[in-house]
Symmetry: C2
Subunit: 224 residues, 2 copies
DNA sequence: AGACGCTTGTGAACGTATGCACAAAGTTGC
DNA sequence: GCAACTTTGTGCATACGTTCACAAGCGTCT
């Protein structure tokens, strides 16, 4: 299955969940695509990788398709997650209810700062980074979330990997190397803002260019 | 300039900043690519869109290239940003120092909950959503960050756009429509975790398949 | 039963992105 | 001043992703 398709399955799943909550039983690719904000041909091609779950002339059965995608993504089981670095962002993530409802259970919180140890966040005690290996093994954790400062990110990832974690979501603005077989994704908020800034600048530039053009037109009108 | 290139420029900028802090004056595409975690040919092609700023046989001058990328992204000016929704995540974002150091100034915080009004977060008073238009215009805000619940996201974006914001970063797990000319990017943490879960599941599946294969080999060994 | 209308699933064309490989262009050493 | 070496910038082949367009399939209505 293409990586681009995998990245969209959660989107479809969410759209289907919304439809199910609104009591919709059947949906066409056109409607579902609109709900997910994609092109309908793309949606159909994506779904075709799961199998032929639609009915021609009718569409897709919402509950059934939802179950198929859930199974494909691997959300029939709950995944235990450890968050490393319980600062600003770590607190927000730990307190976020949206993960549990999507099949992810925050199983442990870890920080290196002794003053944070024992602090209770979202019903969990913050534990020391030295216990990481033990925690990962005891709780069967496969996914780690890194919310430490950038300079600690590589070290933390190394320790997560050594402890047996094979999927990492990194929030620190740092390039991290992981061995083959470990999946690393990064969420980079500054980069997102910078991409917006780039386009914003060009918009203003375009506006200015338009003004120049208008000025030229005006000049021509005066001269002509 | 290709969108994929734009998305990598911030990465290069960060790598260059790290190098500059370490006192490195010149860097080859090979070294810079390694720092940014990309292929060196890709890096050179990306940089070639900015112009011919390298010196053959030598590499790129760190400070100069950094300045060029900064200019290209549009970070020579500071961008004023408003955060809408000062809950878990909004607090973390407001308190995050990493934005200011990258050219983004959190200029205002807005929430709809009356009990939050006047609360001071990161040196700013939380103001009411009704003031949004006024705030955006007074402070010359071009970029909005949405950290409200999903059900409010479309409404908030509509109001941001109406107020004159033309770039939005959305953290709410909702599909939001914006008019042409407005840039919308989304950061979707649940989706990221779900993509990891998909691959994690396949890893386990692969492991099981391998075990089955080993079992078959074993059976063959016994039979043969 | 057959015709009609709707929607899926997919082949094919197109566009974008990546990475190789190398000529061109520079530096260094003698 | 020239040869040897290094590194950039880019043409080209390949891979990946998207979108169009339509035949095949299903339900419905007469
Ligand atoms: N806060 C945000 O909104 C935001 C936005 C974008 C990016 N980020 C990035 O996310 C990361 C966390 O940001 P933050 O604002 O929460 O920072 P923070 O300083 O508030 O928290 C970092 C936490 O990590 C802990 N820590 C440090 N080294 C550690 C180690 N080796 N092992 C375990 N824990 C360790 C610290 O004790 C601290 O509690 C940073 O890399 C930041 O750049 C944050
Ligand atoms: N907290 C996280 O780590 C996290 C992670 C992933 C996604 N998200 C998403 O980010 C968003 C915010 O998450 P949170 O945990 O901070 O939620 P939260 O409930 O703590 O905060 C939401 C805030 O938005 C405010 N709000 C509601 N409607 C508003 C409106 N119309 N105008 C202005 N403000 C309004 C609320 O008063 C509240 O203060 C949610 O959509 C959530 O799904 C959060």
């Amino acid at each position: 299955m293409p990586e681009a398709t995998v990245a969209r399955l959660p989107l479809y799943l969410r759209a289907l969940t919304n439809l199910a909550e609104r009591g919709v039983a059947t949906v066409s690719s056109e409607e579902l695509a609109a709900s997910a904000g994609v092109n309908s041909a793309k949606l159909r091609k994506d779904l075709s990788y799961l199998g032929s779950y639609g009915t021609r002339g009718v569409g897709y059965e919402v509950d059934f398709l939802r179950h198929q995608i859930t199974r494909e993504i691997g959300l029939t089981q709950d995944w235990a997650v450890v968050i490393v670095g319980i600062g600003n962002l770590g607190h927000a993530l730990a307190n976020y209810g949206g993960f549990a409802s999507r099949g992810f259970r925050i199983a442990a919180l870890v920080d290196a700062d002794p003053s944070r140890l024992g602090e209770e966040v979202a019903g969990l005690n913050v534990r020391h980074a030295d216990e990481l290996e033990q925690i990962v093994q005891d709780l069967g954790i496969a996914i780690g979330v890194v919310a430490t400062p950038a300079r600690a990110a590589q070290l933390v990832c190394d320790r997560l990997v050594a402890a047996g974690v094979t999927s990492i979501l990194n929030f620190a603005p740092a390039i991290v190397q992981v061995p083959e077989g470990v999946d690393l994704r990064k969420v980079d908020l500054s980069t997102e803002l910078q991409i917006l800034a780039y386009h914003e600048q060009r918009k203003n530039g375009a506006a200015l260019a338009l003004t120049a053009e208008q000025a030229a037109e005006l000049a021509e009108a005066v001269n002509g």
